[in-house]
């Protein structure tokens, strides 16, 4: 038994494969955070006054929070205090002008993407995926825009949206996650440097999956991107975000905000495959991933669906949530979170039922290996007017080895007696008997572990778009490779 556990541990010792650093000229602000820096960020981006004002309000609010030491401490994660004045809040690859095609992109950047396995080139276009790549906060290449424009879909960097569609940005920015929401969201509101923007007009079904890759390259910069997705009445859109970061000894802060708005009969499906650098085997380095993601199912019969596969980051603090405001609206959260070595994850969701006959589904699969600590924290809130609300929550944990931990904190608040709630939870260890059974049929130990874990995560993987499900499966087995002989 114990030797199997040891071998599983070995398998989990696989090293980070995306840890190369790209050396490109960058344009960055000196470390520190104050009103000057906030203004400088806005100036570098040539932002209109309303944005500058919004950032400053956020900054002032954040400064007051920081003074009160109001950084959240309730999450089940441990890390030394972050020196926010030591970080640089803006870093962009230096480029002379706006880019019209991929040929104009710095070949080193493209090389980085190809190492990441992101086919920014023809294949991806043929595959029908439009990629908006965010490299240290500035969007460097947006593809397939023309085809999207034909049907009226706007898919661009946040900066471009501010320039070209200020009325949409003004209307929706902060409407789901206000700048006062929480410490990290407030910080993001003050300093965010770029991100993605999507608007799908009335009745349009977005003709392809929209995909963004984020990558943190520069040292000592936090990445603060912001994503805003709006699906107008009857619109459908599926969006995928993938993330990686190079190996650094220092911890890097990533405090992103994602806001989704679905109007009547609209559907937004948001999928994340997160593979930020998790730190080394001793727990040195790695990304602090403190992210606020929230969707508002504003209209009747609207639907917001979050699917996430979280295998990276030293610390993950993240609760993609749904505000189910429209009658008959639907919220979903499907999550796989893996913690290995010294990774910590405190993740889950909030489902806030406001409208009548609103329905939410939560499926969370936590996998812990090494010394990893995995916490599910979920809240289901049924407000007074939410007659006929329903929630189903399933929360499973899988342990590999005996030094890791799984924790579950479900909070339920019901103010309407007609609500129906179902909750299922389980914790299991990956069984030596399961591994042996598969081996006895000719399957290697590594394959066996990978198969068992994929089986465990199946309910989540089947929610991912096909090609990303394959990617997620690979990522999971790579993250656990070496954990078996």
């Amino acid at each position: 038994m114990s030797s199997t556990v040891n071998q599983i541990n070995d398998l989990t010792q696989q090293e980070y494969k995306w840890g190369f650093v790209t050396s490109i000229d960058e344009d960055r602000l000196p470390p520190g955070l104050n009103e000057e820096i906030v203004r400088a960020i806005a100036a570098k981006k040539g932002e209109p006054e309303f944005m500058v004002e919004w950032r400053l309000k956020a900054y002032r609010h954040w400064a007051s929070l920081e003074q009160k030491h109001a950084e959240p401490t309730w999450a089940n994660v441990k890390y030394p205090p972050i020196d926010y004045q030591a970080l640089s809040y803006y870093s962009a690859p230096k480029q002379k002008k706006e880019l019209k095609s991929l040929d104009e992109v710095d070949p080193e950047i493209l090389d980085t993407y190809s190492k990441l396995g992101i086919p920014l080139h023809e294949q991806k276009l043929l595959a029908g995926v439009a990629v908006d790549a965010v490299f240290d906060s500035v969007s460097v290449a947006t593809t397939f825009k023309a085809k999207l424009a034909e049907v009226g879909v706007i898919f661009c960097s946040f900066s471009e949206a501010v320039k070209n569609h200020p009325e949409l940005v003004k209307k929706y920015l902060g409407s789901v996650v206000p700048y006062t929401d929480n410490f990290f969201a407030t910080l993001n509101s003050a300093v965010f440097s770029d991100g993605s923007f999507v608007y799908v007009p009335k009745g349009v079904r977005c003709p392809m999956e929209l995909s963004t890759y984020f990558r943190i390259n520069a040292q000592n910069t936090g990445q603060f991107e912001r994503t805003l997705i709006i699906a107008d009445e009857g619109a459908h859109v599926s969006y995928l975000e993938g993330c990686t970061a190079p190996i650094r000894d220092e911890n890097q802060l990533h405090a992103a905000v994602v806001e989704l708005i679905a109007h009547d009969n609209a559907t937004i499906k948001y999928s994340t495959v997160q593979n930020w650098y998790p730190g080394d085997k001793e727990g040195k380095g790695g990304i602090y991933n403190f992210v606020t993601k929230r969707g508002k199912a504003l209209g009747k019969n609207s639907k917001i669906s979050w699917t996430q596969v979280e295998t990276g980051s030293a610390i993950t603090w993240k609760y993609p949530s749904c505000i189910l405001q429209g009658d008959n609206s639907v919220g979903e959260f499907y999550s796989v979170a893996l913690t290995n070595n010294y990774q910590q994850a405190d993740t889950g969701t909030k489902m806030i039922h406001i409208g009548k006959n609103t329905k939410s589904t939560v499926v969370s699969k936590g996998i812990s290996a090494g010394h990893g600590q995995n916490t599910y924290r979920g809240m289901v809130k049924i407000l007074k007017g939410a007659t006929g609300a329903r929630n189903y929550t399933q929360c499973d944990s899988l342990l590999i080895g005996d030094k890791c931990g799984a924790h579950t904190f479900p909070y339920i608040e019901v103010k309407n007696a007609s609500a129906r709630m179902e909750h299922e939870a389980s914790t299991s260890k990956i069984g030596e008997d399961q591994i042996f059974y598969l081996q006895q049929r000719g399957i290697s130990k590594e394959e066996a572990v990978s198969m068992i874990i994929n089986g465990f995560c199946k309910a989540v993987f089947k929610e991912l778009p096909m090609e990303f499900a394959v990617e997620a499966q690979k990522l999971l087995s790579i993250s656990l490779e070496g954990s078996v002989g």
């Binding site: 038994m1 030797s3 199997t4 069984g431 030596e432 008997d433 399961q434 042996f436 059974y437 598969l438 081996q439 006895q440 049929r441 000719g442 399957i443 290697s444 130990k445 394959e447 198969m451 068992i452 994929n454 089986g455 465990f456 995560c457 199946k458 309910a459």
Partner: protein, 254 residues
Amino acid sequence: MSLLEIKNLHASVNGNEILKGIDLTVNPGEVHSIMGPNGSGKSTLAQVLARRESYEVTGGSITFDGKDLLEMKPEDAACEGLFMAFQYPVEIPGISNAYFLRAALNAIRKYRGQDEMDAMDFLPLLKEKMRMLEMDERFLNRPVNEGFSGGEKKRNEIVQMAVLEPKLAVLDETDSGLDIDALKIVAKGVNAMRDKKRSMVLVTHYQRLLDYIVPDFVHVLVNGRIVKSGGPELALELEQKGYSWTEPELVGKR
């Protein structure tokens, strides 16, 4: 040349010696039955043959198809053609029977330098074997053994054996938990696989199975040793007299 040659095998579990010197030779095409009371070490022998690592071999040797079995990992033994039908088949949630079995078959084919079989070729093969074991097609997509009844699990083991076509099949108490109809179905499946080359070791507690799958040899395992060997008639004798007569010293001690 014999397919399996076990010489003076000693094995321990958690430091307790369970097998205390087993000798057994199985030639191609032979069916051997190992019988014995509960706790005598039958499953231990099966697990050792399948190379489960928690079963420690402390002495002796096992040669399988001319190779040293004790040098092999469990998956290598499987790829070399050793199959064990589990006494307690394991559930693998989220992985369909069809997916699992194709992965297994392809792992074995790859080991042998054969091309992988795609789903188009594999499915008809699997369906045919399932029909033979009278298993409904809905078991194709059900997760491996999950929620299967005891009998369904056992039949599923034989389906796997039929697909993987081993050189040596070790069936551990495949009859236990089966009603008479299911037993007949399983026996039919097993008998259909008997041929001049394939060998089998049937581990069983009851003589009942041997009415349907008639072995060439019967061995009686008591307290980690084979105390008696004979032909099929030995099984009947055991049925009538119980196990105690086979080991006079034991009887004397009681």
